[in-house]
Amino acid sequence: MINFLLDFFTILFYTMLDVLPIILLIVFFQLLVLKQPIPHLKRVLLGGIYVVLGLALFLMGLEKALFPIGEIMANQLASPSFLGLEDNASANWTDYYWIYIFAASIGFSTTIAEPSLIAVAIKAKQVSAGTISVNGLRITVAIGVAFALALGTFRIITGLPLYLFILVGYIVVIIQTIFAPKDLIALAYDSGGVTTSTVTVPLVTALGLELSGVVPGSNPAIDGFGLIAFASLFPIISVLGYSQFMFLKNKMSHIKK
């Protein structure tokens, strides 16, 4: 218990330092530049205390839950005994199919429930005057992220260079940008950031790092990262692709009429 409290207060202290820049920002601009008192000061202060406490608790839980879950899953799903390998037999990339399925399930399930994606989808519907449907977009992006994470784990297992995948992804985005409806481009670019939530990032990062540690011939320092990069690139491709498709479909039905 004493250790727990000691841990908690150390983390709490560092969390206060982390939040300090925001406090300075508010005080400086509100009082010195805008020259106005801070509105609802009591509420703002109470909110600040919540933020610091919540962040400290989250960081403690991170070490006890999110990192271990990612590591344990990678260890169990990639262990030679789970893969059913004989002694000394080396695994083929196809033997790791449960890893791909797991990564895809995590990607799909977290994305479909992501509140900020729902917000983006509603805005996309407004901008496109109803051509894009909220649920259609959500499912498309969720499938995109599922595919992204499966592909990301495949890359870690095979040790193929990350930049090649990202380069191809960028080229796809640039080509899509040329043809996509102009009104939706900014929204699509922004959607890359919305799928990587605070809970998913640590879990997926730990999964990738541990996986690169377990798989023979893979180096955590070089191969371990990159899953988040995939998960940020594919929503852009899915949103651009989906809106392109819906606009074309819309056009076709007009022509038919």
């Binding site: 839980g61 990032v201 955590p220």
Partner: protein, 248 residues
């Protein structure tokens, strides 16, 4: 009566926080029970940790919505209206920097990055080096997000087309990839997605939409977006620069 509604509200928030985590929990329980069929190691500790994560995130977001978001939005709007370019740009930079330093996902990934780099023998493994490596990483990402928001605000003011800047950014990312040490590339690419989660997105979106509202001939729906896109691009470039500094 007041206490009763407060308690009801509290349980409602806990429920929402759990519902957000539910998809992950379901997937993991399914894999443990059906696919792996082993008992989960350290189950008690992990469950306690999950509770801390749920409760912590709930408090964190509640605090943001009570204090930071309303005041941040009001300030962004007031500064956009004030019309002083210098203060507006300084605010944009400071907003990007300070919200990124407090971003929980970045804290998590910086810690893992320091651990992995020391295990690979790229940096010393004493606690002091680990700490300064992780802090340095967070500061470079925060500076890059600061610049990203500043450039994004300039774009809204000047009406530059977004895709030119994004494509230019992609080209720089690729050029940096050629000269950066290979141990930093994965982390750098990941840093792009990490910066844009809990705190930064709502405040930065508010700034963009506020600006587009104030400036004549700009539509908040069209011109207000695009700030997040920069905030995912510039960190990649800056973290690769950070890697050049540490590993070479």
């Amino acid at each position: 009566m007041l206490i009763k509604t407060n308690i009801q509200l509290f349980f409602k928030k806990i429920k929402t926080a759990f519902l957000d985590l539910l998809p992950i929990i379901l997937v993991i329980v399914f894999f443990q029970a059906v696919v792996i069929q082993q008992t989960f190691p350290q189950i008690g500790e992990v469950l306690a940790g999950v509770l801390l994560v749920v409760f912590g995130l709930m408090l964190f977001i509640e605090g943001l919505e009570m204090g930071l978001f309303p005041i941040g939005e009001a300030m962004a709007y007031a500064l956009a209206k004030k019309g002083s370019l210098f203060w507006l740009l300084l605010f944009a930079f400071a907003l990007g920097f300070s919200t990124t330093i407090a971003e929980p996902a970045l804290l998590a990934i910086a810690k893992e990055a320091a651990k992995i780099s020391s295990e690979a023998g790229l940096i010393n493994s004493d606690a002091e080096t680990l700490k300064s490596y992780a802090l340095g990483l967070r500061i470079s990402v925060a500076i890059s997000v600061g610049f990203a928001i500043l450039i994004g605000v300039l774009r809204i003011l000047k009406g530059w087309p977004l895709y030119y800047l994004i494509i230019g950014g992609y080209v720089i990312v690729m050029l940096m990839t050629i000269i950066a040490p290979q141990e930093i590339i994965g982390l750098a690419y990941d840093a792009g997605g990490v910066t844009t989660s809990t705190i930064t997105v709502p405040l930065v979106t508010a700034l963009g939409v506020g600006l587009a509202n104030v400036i004549k001939g700009r539509s908040p729906l069209l011109d207000g977006f695009g700030l997040i896109a920069f905030a995912s691009l510039l960190p990649m470039i800056f973290v690769m620069g950070y890697g050049l500094f540490w590993f070479k």
